[in-house]
């Protein structure tokens, strides 16, 4: 009997051991330090087991490491991103924007967005100039930059979104607007002390006007039209006949996020094979758009300098007509720089000033 009892005990022990061995180990609590990327002024916070919320940084083992990186990030944040911008007129962002110009309304949206961005900068520039004039600064250089920016705005407004070269026009004029913005920023930076510069920056930060609000409305409506076309296009790929949801989006009953969610649901309700077909169809269009943007960007890069020179010559004529001496002189200098520049490829900072970091 004793023997049997010991065998039974042994077996029971085996059962316990095997169960214990195969039981899942409880997860150890993993805690790391993070800083808030959207609000880097706030100190680092510790989160455990990936329970982070919001847009946080990468994980740091210690508070000190996290704080060090947060302060570094904060320093970089306060520097103007434009200081590091490349000389390439077609950056990744622009190429992404061009992709949408392959669809109807796409070019119209992009040109109107550019028009709005230039108008906003002109408004801020004019406000800054009037503040500086009130303080007794000489603002003739700044005024000449703004006058040229007005000419760029006229060119954007005159551009035909349906034209074959609308992408090229968008690339060229966006590049000009960016260069003039940089010129203005650097000229004003050279005029003012750090404290004054920050003071004026703060004053014009949230400037708004009826004109800008009208632009915002126009852009929003145009984007809505673009998106409606995209919904129909996706409906075609998915194989949906109903247009109820489109009407709700047009009426404003549902927003874009809800539309996207609804489309995702529609796709996810399909069979695996059908989903694969829809996905590959969407990918095919994406590749087509990327190719379109690549080739447009390649073409635009081709004779970029020559086109810039042509635009400057046209602006010179306009400046002549307007009788703005300072603008005339500025454009003449730019043309001179182009003609004398290395390989005539100076499409960056045309007023000959460097891209200093100090404010």
């Amino acid at each position: 009997m004793k023997k049997m009892l010991s065998i039974i005990m042994m077996l029971m022990l085996m059962v316990s051991f095997s169960t214990l061995a195969m039981a899942e180990e409880p997860a150890e609590e993993e805690c790391y330090w993070y800083y808030d990327v959207d609000n880097p002024e706030n100190e680092c916070v510790e989160y455990c087991n990936n329970t982070t919320s919001g847009n946080v940084s990468e994980a740091y083992d210690t508070f000190e490491d996290c704080e060090e990186c947060r302060l570094e990030f904060l320093d970089n944040e306060t520097e103007d991103p434009e200081d590091n911008e490349s000389e390439d007129p077609i950056d990744d962002e622009t190429e992404k924007q061009i992709e949408k110009m392959n669809y109807s309304h796409g070019a119209e949206v992009r040109l109107l967005q550019l028009e709005k961005a230039i108008t906003k900068n002109l408004l801020k520039g004019e406000m800054a100039v009037s503040v500086l004039q009130g303080l007794g600064y000489n603002t003739t250089d700044l005024e000449a930059i703004l006058a040229e920016m007005h000419l760029v705005l006229d060119e954007v407004q005159a551009a035909d979104p349906e034209a074959n070269d609308s992408v090229q026009i968008f690339i060229d004029l966006k590049s000009d607007a960016k260069n003039l913005t940089t010129q203005f920023r650097e000229t004003i930076r050279a005029l003012l002390s750090d404290v004054k510069y920050k003071e004026i920056k703060e004053q014009i930060r949230n400037i708004t006007s009826d004109e800008l609000q009208n632009y915002s409305k126009k852009v929003r409506n145009l984007i809505k039209q673009f998106n409606v076309n995209q919904i129909y296009r996706l409906y075609g790929i998915i194989g949906n006949q109903s247009s109820d949801f489109v009407n709700d989006y047009i009426n404003g009953t549902v927003n874009l996020t809800q539309v996207k969610l609804q489309l995702s649901k529609m796709v996810n309700m399909k069979t695996k094979e059908k989903r694969m077909n829809i996905f590959s169809e969407m990918l095919k269009e994406k590749v087509q758009n990327k190719n379109f943007a690549n080739s447009a960007a390649g073409n635009a890069k081709g004779n970029f300098s020559e086109r810039h020179l042509e635009r400057l010559q046209k602006r010179l004529e306009n400046a002549n007509n307007s009788g703005n001496e300072k603008l005339l002189e500025k454009i003449q200098n730019e043309i001179q720089n182009y003609e004398n520049g290395p390989g005539n490829g100076n499409h960056g900072n045309d007023n000959g000033k460097g891209k200093g970091k100090g404010k």
Binding site: S18, K178, I188, R220, I223, L234, V259, V267, L283
Partner: protein, 76 residues
């Protein structure tokens, strides 16, 4: 010797032994099955199969956010 021992055992005790062996085997089988099914699930999600996120990303890409602004830099 083991055979002799088994032969001499009581039927009741033998049945308890068999029962225990069955319980142990069942536990082992259950746990190993559970683990392998988890592996399969993981393979499925990390494999080349289409995920909901893939679809959502493509749908996202098709649209322009209504409040999107074009950035040409700040004047000051």
């Amino acid at each position: 010797m083991i055979v002799e021992c088994v032969v001499n055992m009581d039927k009741k005790i033998l049945s308890i032994l068999v029962l225990l062996v069955v319980v142990v085997s069942a536990t082992v089988l259950f746990v190993s099955f559970k683990e392998s099914s988890q592996d399969v699930q993981q393979d499925f999600s990390t494999g080349e199969d289409l995920t909901d996120d893939d679809i959502s990303n493509e749908i996202d890409d098709a649209f322009i956010p209504e409040d999107e602004e074009l950035d040409i830099g700040d004047m000051i």
